[in-house]
Homo-oligomer: 134 residues x 2
């Protein structure tokens, strides 16, 4: 399985990658996790994501290796944004290419479910200065 | 739930739609079903999709309405290509936007599973003239 992994302080463009019709895949599944304007009932302007980048990358590779052994896929791309992510922008993008759709969906969902538990990337609400100082 | 549905004889571009950050969605899941070069062990150059367009659209709307009652989503886009679709090109594109990812994945997968059984769109291998006449 090819892996294209990137942690970045920049906005994730749309689409994040060119069209990938070079692996013979029959299924391409993509997911964007977007910062919402409401978190647990409170209005929000942004989230801040922080990570030890080396450790986070290592854990993402380990997790994907484990998942790919169960759900064989041709290629996976992961882009995780770090730093301040405003409401309406993507914090994470994942693309999975596989022969058939079952593996792509299984890998993508298992990855998202386990990412938060197993990968050291933390998120915090970014509180506007005016509120923080009040 | 908003629905953006299109059956088309033209190639599905990438990305098929502009970035949709206007529904307050926290999850955007996209799927492309691509024609593969091998079908049941035989080499293939293209598939041909045919439909009674009105009936197919009606059945897609009915199916999505049923699924959205179970998995509430903000917006769904479906583009299904008809006619000849060469290997490596997408025959179908589906995008689901929802508050959280669980509903998006559930609706997307249920839709793909039921589409082939319930919607009158047929596919056939497109056999090159040289072989057909042999």
């Amino acid at each position: 399985m090819q892996l294209d992994l990137r942690l970045t302080d920049s906005p994730i463009p749309y689409p994040p990658r060119p069209w990938p019709n070079d692996t013979g895949a029959g299924a391409v599944a993509e997911f964007y996790g977007i910062v919402r304007g409401v978190e647990e009932g409170r209005a929000l302007r942004a989230l801040r994501y922080e990570a030890y980048a080396d450790m986070a990358e290592r854990e993402i590779r380990r997790l994907l290796g484990e998942l790919a052994a169960r759900h064989p896929c041709r290629r996976v791309a992961v882009i995780h944004r770090l730093g301040l992510v405003p409401v309406g922008e993507a914090a994470i993008y994942v693309r999975v290419e596989s022969a058939h759709r079952a593996e792509a969906f299984a890998l993508l969902q298992d990855f998202m479910d386990r990412l938060k538990q197993e990968v050291p990337i933390w998120k915090a609400e970014a509180i506007p200065q005016t509120q923080a100082g009040a």
